[in-house]
């Protein structure tokens, strides 16, 4: 107690209690610990070599529209993969092993957000074992968090259907909001890959300019458009942007198909007016067709998303198709 044990006050280099020099022992240990580090460095170098041709960022987009935006902003600097086919409902997709495989190696995930993909994306991300793309980290980008949302702040009451109090997530049909999302995306890409910062900003800028260029023409075409009946409040962003009236939705409340009576009430309300009925390919065509027959209007299935391989102009052509449909309503 009064005298500390020899081994505790021993200087490095003093012979140990067993008579061995402790310094060499430590050095050997250090050398040992260095060996794996060297190995790791060599391995890292090898990996870097192997990865050299694939310098591009691995970007995964949930929706084809986000894929198109990423192509417009990042060009060749991103290797892009879109998870959802354009003709399927983004809200009802299922997590698939191939998604987890894609997310495993991703540098950045683009989601529309506001709970649109909540049935499958969180679980796919969590099972992809890729910490870079967890929500809250730079590798996770939600378009809905970059712009103001319509229909936000409603009652969180599911007797009103499949409501999303955070706001309507289908913002990708509004080219102006998408241009804003593009700028935010450019900043995010720049923070992940600073070497490409200028390229990303240029990409976002030129996409915004393209939108600007076409928006005037679209506004002119849609001035005085009679309006549209939608199946679900999914194209409201587009209608709101161009001031086209939303004449009604076929679903009385989100996610709930109409009864015959609700449909005929809608028809009675709209009788004598003009407009077009638009629905997505995955929505049931019966109700839109019935309504179209009763009103003498046209009912058209239009995908909410551009083709999976669309780029910036592909996305704008897709908006153009919606504009055409809304403008030519008899």
């Amino acid at each position: 107690m009064s005298q500390p044990s020899a081994s505790l006050i021993r200087e490095p280099g003093d012979p140990g209690p067993d008579g061995l020099q402790s310094r060499p022992a430590i050095q050997t240990k250090r050398a040992w610990s260095r060996a794996p580090r060297h190995l790791a460095r060599v391995l890292a170098a090898l990996l870097a070599l192997a990865a050299a041709p694939a310098l591009a960022l691995d970007v995964i987009a949930t929706a084809p529209s986000l894929g198109a935006l990423a192509r417009a902003v990042a060009g060749d600097r991103a290797h892009l993969k879109v998870l959802a086919p354009p003709d399927r409902d983004l809200h009802r997709l299922q997590a698939k092993p191939s998604m987890m495989r894609d997310l495993r190696a991703a540098d950045l995930v683009l989601a529309l957000g506001a709970e649109l993909e909540s049935g499958w994306l969180p679980v796919a991300i969590s099972n992809a074992a890729n910490p870079k793309i967890l929500p809250g980290r730079p590798g996770y980008f939600e378009a809905a968090a970059q712009v103001d949302l319509l229909d936000a702040g409603g009652r969180a009451d599911r007797s009103l259907g499949d409501v999303h109090p955070l706001g309507n997530p289908h913002l990708d049909l509004d080219p102006v909001r998408m241009a804003r999302v593009g700028r935010a995306l450019a900043e995010r890409l720049a923070s992940i890959d600073p070497a490409g910062a200028d390229a990303y900003r240029r990409g976002a800028q030129s996409f915004a300019a393209q939108v600007e260029e076409r928006i005037a023409g679209w506004s002119r075409r849609l001035a005085g458009a009679p309006g549209a009946v939608l199946y679900h409040r999914d194209a409201v962003y587009l209608l709101e942007r161009f001031g086209v009236p939303l004449l009604g939705t076929i679903e009385p409340i989100p996610g709930v198909p109409p009864t015959g009576r609700q449909l005929s009430e809608l028809a009675n309300r709209l009788k004598g007016g003009k407009g077009i009925i638009l629905y997505a390919p995955y929505q049931s065509p019966q109700a839109p067709r019935t309504l179209a027959r009763e009103l003498g209007w046209q009912a058209r299935a239009l995908p909410l998303e551009p083709p999976a391989n669309a780029d910036g102009s592909g996305y704008l052509d897709h908006i153009g198709r919606w504009v055409d449909a809304l403008a030519v309503a008899p």
């Binding site: 086919p85 003709d87 399927r88 009802r92 997709l93 299922q94 997590a95 698939k96 092993p97 191939s98 987890m100 495989r101 495993r104 190696a105 989601a111 957000g113 506001a114 709970e115 993909e117 909540s118 049935g119 499958w120 994306l121 969180p122 679980v123 969590s126 099972n127 074992a129 910490p131 967890l134 929500p135 809250g136 996770y140 980008f141 939600e142 809905a144 968090a145 970059q146 702040g153 599911r158 259907g161 499949d162 955070l166 935010a184 900043e187 995010r188 005085g224 009679p226 309006g227 001031g243 009236p245 996610g255 198909p257 004598g272 007016g273 390919p281 995955y282 929505q283 049931s284 999976a308």
Partner: protein, 517 residues
Amino acid sequence: MSHALARGLLSAALLTPATTFAADDAEIAELRTMLNQMKNDYERRIADLEARLERAERAASQPPPTAPMPAESLPMAAPVVHAAPQSPPTGGLGALTSGTAFNPQISVILDGNYYHDGIDGRGATLVGEAFRPGRTLHAHEEETDSAHAHGMTGNGFNLRSAEIAFSATVDPYFDAFTYLAIDGDGNVDLEEAYFRTRSLPYGLKVKGGKFLSDFGYINRQHPHQWDFVDQNLPYLNLLGDHGLQDTGLQLTWLPELPFYALLGVEALQGDQEVFGATLSETEQVELSLGDTEDGPRLWTAFAKVAPELPDNHALQLGISYAHADQHQAVLAHEHATEAEGDEVGAHEDAQAPDIEPHETGLAGDAALWGIDLVYKYSGDGPHGQGDLVFQTEYLRLIQDLQVRASPHPEDIGARPSFTTDGLYAQATYGFAPKWTAGLRYDVLGLTTNQVRDTLSEDFGSSDRWTLALTWNLSEFSRLRAQYARNDILVEPGERERFDAFYLQFLMSLGAHGAHPF
């Protein structure tokens, strides 16, 4: 209000001249469209103004202009703290708190049914007690007596469970989950309580706590996720009511490959009722089975592979292996039914009544193999119309045991091996929006249901056909009708054939769940 007034004035002003001149139809139509246009235009402007006013008010009521949020992303489903500007300003409260924003996501799933079978309601229990050699049935009898916590289903109404699920991100390093199941009698069963790492590199994940093993495919699913009301025969009989649910650690690795491949191992305590079961201390002493060894006693390894397929198709193949280092069984047989007088006479306890069961104690180890295949097609119809799921698994259980205690001393030390396999194959198809039909065939003892000792004996199989019709009213509620034709081997040479009918409801309250593949 001024809005409505203005609209009224406007329509009055416009309508009056239109009606007085009594113009022809075409003119009226033209005027009407003009009017509509003006009305729309007007409404739009008012909405614009209102929105601007609201924005101005909001800006005024928020003292410091909050930083623009573009840099941040909203977590997908967790409560969003910076969505707060939507809620009324907190000015008067005098304290800023994050309130309930840190609460875990909570959901409750109610699972109840009406059940009827032709054998006085014994059927729902019987399907889990199909005969296979080497099974300890004696433990089950005890459990039945003490109102066992599985919420026994009988003829009539049953509330199978109210499952309460909590999940949250603990910190940057862990997510954690808790699932409690409360049955109709109020018994609480902790189904799962585990943490899972978030940030490990190289595609690694560690899970620890009590959880459903990733052995096979259906093992990890909670009952409300099943496509049929009840579990299939191989799982029910080879793993028990809860499947392979145990306490331990899991390590998985998802390597970066051109296709999906997940490899995993688990070390589990081995507190099992069926596979890797250990008996009570009194029985261990009475039957000289030895003490329960230190855990972990149960090990699993699994691999799952999914080839790259075109959009809308998904296929996953899996192979799993589980090994229980310690497995104990007690087999009871009655000599009264055998009526082999000379053998009975050889016993010391020949005076005992003939119905006295003779107990044989066995100890050893057990191994379980599993192969699974799941194919899913996502249809292009509304609300799941055209969706197809095909799912099949094969399980094979091998118990290598040694007789430690027997009323027949010559049997002690014998090493019988018990092997039973089983298979289920099921398909569901969305034949209409929100409606799916399912068909399942399951069998216990597909090729083997035998004991091999000095001589071997095979006992045949139990099987069942099941039809289910499911109505998914919304993402949060589901009703199901199910009919099954059962042919269950109860004892060697003794079968029960019966029909069983279920009507089930599933209600999901609270957070929007997400299910893995």
